[in-house]
Each structure stands twice: as C-alpha cells, then as structure tokens.
Symmetry: C2
Amino acid sequence: MSASMESSMFTPHKYFLAHISLDCVVFGFHENQLKVLLAKLKGRDEWGLPGGFVGIQETAEYAASRVLKERTGLDQVFLQQFYVFSDPDRGEQLKEVESLKAISGSAIDIEWFKQRFISIGFYALVEFSQVEPTPDVISDACQWWDLAEVSKLMLDHNLILQKALETLRLQLNYQPIGYNLLPATFTMPELQRLYEAILGKQLDRRNFHRKITGYGILKKLNERRTGVAHKAPDLYSFDLDKYHQALKEGLQGGW
Amino acid sequence: MSASMESSMFTPHKYFLAHISLDCVVFGFHENQLKVLLAKLKGRDEWGLPGGFVGIQETAEYAASRVLKERTGLDQVFLQQFYVFSDPDRGEQLKEVESLKAISGSAIDIEWFKQRFISIGFYALVEFSQVEPTPDVISDACQWWDLAEVSKLMLDHNLILQKALETLRLQLNYQPIGYNLLPATFTMPELQRLYEAILGKQLDRRNFHRKITGYGILKKLNERRTGVAHKAPDLYSFDLDKYHQALKEGLQGGW
C-alpha cells in the first residue's frame, strides 16, 4: 500500500477526490496519560495530525482506516467521524510557497495542496502498546505526544484536536469507553485513571465505582492482579455483548 | 438570494466546491407529532431532504443555514452537522439520464449532478408554526411530513433521516432539547410528548418529571394554562442560561 500511496502523491488528482481531506486524531492511553499521535512535516519543525485524502472509489471511513493502518500498523480500530472542518481559510498556510517547498522533496504535486480542502475529522481509540508509529511520504517523524505537551500544530489541527477531545468527553455521558484504550483486563483504579485523563479532572472513587458498575458493562473476574505488595486489586474486563449494545443504544440511565 | 441561487445552478462549478453537498434534516413538532421537511423533485413523484452545495468561499455551516433560510424562511436556527455520507454509489440514481431529464427543465447543468458527491448531513430543530416551506429551483413542492408517513426517499435520504433521528435520540441523554421545537411556554405533558415523539416510545409521567426537573434547565412560571376545563396545568419555560450551559457541557448527572 505505501508504495502505491507514494506514487499516488505524484498525481493525486487521478486517485483522490478534490477538495476533501481527512484528519485523524488517534488517542492512546499509557502510564495514566492520554496520548495523541502526531506526524512532523518533512524539513520543518511543525507537527500535525495524520491525514490523507478520499480515494475516488472509497468511502471516507475506508480512507480513514487506510490512513490509520499506514500510520499505526493497526487494523480494525475503533474509528469514528466527529466533525467537518470547512473554514475557507483553513488551508492558507499551505498556499505559502515556502511551506510547500519543504515537503516537495519527493516530486509531490504542489498544486494539489494549494486547493481548498474541507476536512472530515475522525478520532480513533487505540491500544498504545500495539501501535508502530510510521511517517508517511510528506513527514519524517511520527510519534506519540502527551496531550498536555502539544503546542501549536499545523493549519487548524489544534482546533480539530480540541473538538475531538470535547466529543470524547461528551460521549463519556452516553457511551461506554475503554475497550480500545485499556488491556483486556484492568483494575477499577486503572479505568478511573482513563476517565480522569479524558475529562482532565479527578473523580471521586466511590461515585466512580457506583456509576460505572451501574452501567452493567463490566465483568468482575475471578482473579486478582498478582505481584503487588499489599491487597491485590480485583480485575475487570468489559462484558462485550453489553458494551456493544450500550455503544448502539446509549448507556443505561438514559431515557 | 433565490435569484442568484437560480442562476448559480446554470453554472454551478463557478459557484460551488465540486464533490461536496449537504442535506438538511429539518425537524418540527406539531400536534404531538415529529415532522420532517421534504421537497419533491420537479416532474417526479419522489421526495427528498432539502439540500445544496457549499459555495467557494462558504463554510459548510453557512451553506446549510443559507439552504435552510431558502427552504423555511428562518434565520438563526438550531442547526448541527451530524454525519458525512460518502458511499461512492450513493449518487448512482442521479446518473440515470431519465432521472436527470426530469429536473433539467430550467437548463440546469446536468453534468454537475453526475459527479460523485460526499454529503454533509445537518439537522435542524425549528418551531413548526414559523416555517414557510418553499420549493427550490429543482423541486416543485416543499412540505412537512409526519415522520411515521415517510416512505422511500430519493438517493440515500432514508439513511440520512434515520441517522439524524438516532443522533437526536442519543443527544437526549446528554444535551437539553426542546427550546427550538416548543413555544416559549409549555406544560410538562407537552414537553413529555416531545420526548416521546423523538424516542418513539411512551415514558412514565413521574420518572419523566423527576428526571427533567433534575437537569435544572426548566423554570416554573407563576402562571397556568388558561381556558382548560379542569385543573389548569403549570406552565414552564427554559432557563436559557442553564440551557445553553448544558448544551455546551452536557446535562447534570454526567461525569
């Protein structure tokens, strides 16, 4: 795929729909931190979200999963569109010739990047440990960043990241989360840390326990975390039938 | 606006971005029924959602509000993007020459309609009584339909309508609703009928009362509905400060 992808960037108008791009906000969770995957443009000290274009015969979802596979090595990722970014001036930065020269080392069609793009934002939740960050043809680095350490990104990518995070926070109120961000088994404190990392605030332990078990999406396992000094904590996994039902119909406690 | 809109359909490529369309699911509430605004294609017995294209210097939101103003006469409507529809075959129907001839009476550029469009879905919640349904240049009727009476629509518009309704149902769990669908003052049973119409199911009166007042978005007024035979029901309005806060941050009861 990456070979054909590379050649497609020499004559992109033959492969992709004009005016439509996509940007992927890939969240991972590691050591109690929410991480986001960023790529660095070739020859510039500027980072941005992994992105791409929609193939002439692709759905936007297929295009996003293709981009994600290229950047992370992952298939079958939890991937969801969340917003369309269509400010007519969002691409101004790419129209500056200097900015384009930097990424044009490999004979990429510069005119393609100068057109106006409306970008479909996707967010993905992935298991941090399974990702192999991989740069694409216009970037020379791809790596995880702590959300708290992300500064000025290219184009409107800070806005896209912010909107993805807001979407995730709102969705905590009506959809289950965690299956794609945590290992198969986890402790209650680990799940709470994930919620806290997404919400950016601390939660009360008892309220969290009461509320999350009330959703009926957790299975308490007949095993405990071993190798810890004191009282071994209970292990949980998601009840996948109920989890997927709740993804579709909303969490219990709705109307 | 409608004059320039008409002329823009003769040479649409000069006015609009290629490959991108938008479709508006306009919901209204009347006599305890959820209604949706549909337009009928010229010369065909086929109905569809009001839609349009994105002007070369417009945001998608601006384009949607422009389309909505043209179809309903309304400004400042609650309008929200909810999903992008990008099946490469979703426009197949429009490629049939017969189908296009029917709407080409006014010298519209047929080639424009034959390209592949990725459509951004918007939904709007409007006060039924304030809408003046108005056909556009490719339709000869525009009117409200009971949601329950909607049958096969053009293209993938049934899917778009279904997805809008699912979005609305999920959003009932974390966002307030009703301000744009009900008159300024209303009774508790009227608000409950709205929720029931959206959810497509009956709700328990007491649970509804407890839950909706728990959100803290209602103001009980010092007046009652007059002109009714028996005990006059209490009147309510939304506390707009708290309503808008909840729109942004989610309803109380979240994390």
